[in-house]
Symmetry: C3
């Protein structure tokens, strides 16, 4: 069986310009490195779930939307029939080896540029340059704020030195990056006080922080200080600031990751002009679409959500399209560890958008020319403009 080509994933009856726009290489404006080694079955099961734990006895993480999608859509990329069993799939994966598997799946995603969040601690992940090389794409780095802060916290500084060193480190890392990213949603929730903390409160909080530097950052004062320092750097360098929003792993308190609770902070940033990109957002993507519709500096994607809702993802795409301006939406796969997640993220973005477009064309709502233009904006144009690629 030949490798699946990206155009196999679209409905047959789209006008050619729309099809071409949907199949054009996209900017994956938020992803992570995939693993360079061959995982065991139990390792692979953990790579395809946001749960940090094995499935309950007698069950498997393959019995999930994303598990079924891997068997359906990734199996052919590895030369298997669709719906291969998990055992057959993983056997074939080992046979080909991680290098070839990663190359095939990243290429199948049809990506022009990867913007890679390098802030994860996991060992054995491909670098941005390697992601680009394997995927036939350009690659840039997204710097995770909390990773830099952790490095600074562990550097043996005094509380008085903390803020200055953090700012220098942020500036140095930002100089080589395409954007900055915050996971404040995981650390203190997005419902933090939007004001910039005072110098005194930062020094006091830094003193407590540095007494236990291995502990991960969760003090709201320091999270806010980190964000405002990042805003300063982002403004100087013209970089967007990404926020994890909505669902993720079991560490998040979902309702505190609703981007609506970030509104006051977004309002505070409006006069500054730093672009803010709300990532994932599920199940609060309608809230995110509203924010993108009323704040000129706010952008939105549903990255992680499409991979994990899989066969149900077209509805998520459709719901984002309800209110979000076409010039405010972006594509990301948020892949991490398993290259399958990159292929599926791109595939479900294209399929979901194709279905929404097909419906609008059938009802006469959009012209084919508009549909092609909108598909291009969301797939790459908006990201190229905002990230200055």
């Amino acid at each position: 069986m030949p490798e699946t080509r990206p155009d196999d994933v679209l409905p047959a009856d789209l006008p050619d310009p729309v099809r071409a726009a949907l199949l054009a290489p996209m900017v994956d404006h938020h992803c992570h490195g995939v693993r360079r080694d061959d995982p065991s079955r139990s390792e692979f099961e953990l790579m395809i779930t946001e749960s940090g734990a094995p499935a309950p006895p007698g069950t498997t993480h393959f019995d999930t939307p994303v598990g079924a999608a891997i068997r359906r859509w990734c199996a052919p990329v590895l030369g298997l029939e669709p719906h291969a069993s998990p055992a057959v799939y993983l056997s074939r994966r080992s046979e080909l080896g991680a290098g070839e598997v990663n190359r095939r799946l990243l290429r199948a995603a049809g990506v022009a540029a990867f913007l890679v969040d390098t802030g994860l601690d996991a060992p054995g992940l491909l670098t941005p340059a390697e992601m680009g090389r394997l995927g036939g794409a350009a690659a840039d780095e997204i710097v995770r704020l909390e990773r830099i802060e952790q490095d600074v916290a562990e550097a043996g500084l005094s509380a008085v030195e903390y803020a200055g060193t953090l700012r220098e480190e942020l500036a140095a890392r930002a100089a080589r990056a395409a954007g900055l990213k915050s996971i404040a949603a995981y650390r203190c929730g997005l419902d933090f006080d939007p004001s910039r903390p005072s110098r005194g409160s930062v020094i006091a909080a830094a003193g407590r922080r540095l007494a236990d530097p291995k502990r991960r950052l969760d003090d709201p004062v320091l999270v806010r200080h980190l964000l405002w320092a990042a805003v300063d750097v982002a403004r100087e360098r013209g970089l967007p600031l990404q926020f994890h929003c909505g669902f993720g792993d079991a560490d998040v308190d979902l309702h505190r990751a609703d981007p609506a609770v970030l509104t006051e902070f977004l309002r505070a940033l409006a006069p500054i002009g730093v672009p803010v990109v709300l990532l994932h957002c599920y199940p609060y993507h309608r809230q995110a679409a509203y924010l993108a519709s009323v704040f000129p500096h706010v952008y939105v994607d549903v990255g992680l959500a499409l991979t994990h809702t899989a066969a149900g993802s077209a509805r998520v795409v459709a719901e984002l399209l309800e209110l979000a301006p076409f010039h405010k939406q972006m594509f990301s796969s948020d892949c991490y560890g398993a290259a399958e997640l990159c292929h599926l993220g791109a595939l479900y973005h294209r399929r979901g958008l194709a279905r929404a477009i097909a419906g609008r064309l059938a009802e006469g709502e959009w012209s084919p020319a508009d549909a092609a233009r909108i598909a291009h904006m969301i797939g790459s144009g908006n990201a190229r403009r905002v990230y200055r690629l």
Copy 2:
């Protein structure tokens, strides 16, 4: 090209009685005046977005769901081909002139009665009577509570006089109105203390308020006082009380405009019997539908949401239909400034409801007679009953 007739907007295969019920003139139970003058392009762009700001450089507010809908559905009403470009559309709009444009679009909406919220400060808006005359419809006024309060606050009263004068002014304005409306969602959020504030606390708050009367009302004590005064007047006169809920412009904190957080106030009103109408509600329209299903005095619409979700609006209609009793739903366009928003609101209400009905008929869920009856209830019957039109 002839003007579009309302029946062009419905699917072809509906039974005749259903089609007739959907095309029958509706009661637009919540709208605002449209502008009497010809806007420039930049002015028009701001009239079709809830964002108060221009689109970012290189983008346009026409690249939104509502922008695409104007090009698709309003262009033919002005004698253009569907999908006319923004430049062509606005040129034709100027050529016809605001008077003719407003007449065509308001007539195309197929409205029997406009209930017009007159509380906006914007100059150059048509009066209710003018809206009715241009649209070939009856017209009545909805009195905005916060507008009256602002007038009272600026009248140079003492804190002790404030409450009495406010009550008199409310009663006087209500005597000529079809309903009252609150934008408490914008001022202090809907999660306010549901109890009636004490006379002492109102006088104290009025003292602070009157020291800076130009500032808009946002003190929760005075918002609550205003609401309870409105409830008294509404009970005396048999008027419904409308609440803005859900999305709107950038001033709203979305999660605090969730009608679910109004539950305790709704519960407090249950024994009083004043009808409460939850407006717009997106993306919390399912929450609103629940409230309408358990509280006999609560009604619901998705007015503003249909215009702005446009090609995606059928899903919003469908979600409201999931739980809301048929005798509790109403239609509103919430048009403001641009007459296009009135036509689109009515059009997407009819199209969304038509699609939901077509599905239910195809699946055998409803009989055609029930479908026609329900379309009539939602389009006008419920509003005529509740507003006593």
Copy 3:
């Protein structure tokens, strides 16, 4: 007209194994007894709404999604044409008598086992054994925690005796039950402090409680104590703990019944391993699906929501399927009072799942074998495993 057979409710074009899996008898893992007597029209109207009040003058609770569904789907089970009028339906219902009506509707539901929450005070409800006998099914009991607590509170104990007696009573009742259930969502909201309250605070709160024992439990300290006592019992006996989440009657503050606000309590239970089942959840079923996807001990259904969203329920099923692992979803009807609600719950579960499956098969997302397997897991397999039936 012959009685409707369950297979009449499915689309015609499903593969045979999928159809068989959907039609197989299910485990209704959460329901209540139906009434043994013949209701009047006004009584019946109250049995088919979550509102505790009659519909407003000039309207009827039959003009709701569930009302239309009764006329469509239950009328044939009673030998009437679909879409019979309410008067004809209720006349036929009286003619047949409650015994025969209950037998027909419970049989039509196609249930293999009822797990019956016996904690409601309403008189005249069938016992679990009677539900099973009429429905041709096995039957087990689900013990409602707040019912036991009420009995203990009214037993004339001292504050010091309260905790011990409650624990004994819980253990005694759990010994004969298939699971435990909490309605904390109704009593103090799900956003309670997740920690186990201290012995001292429980005795103090019990003192206040026992001073007014007829009042229903709403003290958060005692609700938490009850829950932690239930967790101890559940762990000892291997029982799941059900939580009412999302919509219900007018007593619930909807946003405080969002299962997302239960996250910290779920996290606290993770190491203990007691299965937690989130019931109903609408409109927060996506939040519940997320919780089921990241916590190995968390399960989910949309029981009550399907009956009440009726013709719109397929979307709810589809949204649950977006993120919830297949091995984490269950079926329940949550019927109470009217046997119609049991038939409709089962019918809309089968129809909604059938539609989701048909879509996935048409798009090649799932294989027929997987579809059949997943239908079986959700319909009965997961419940048999978790409740150890």
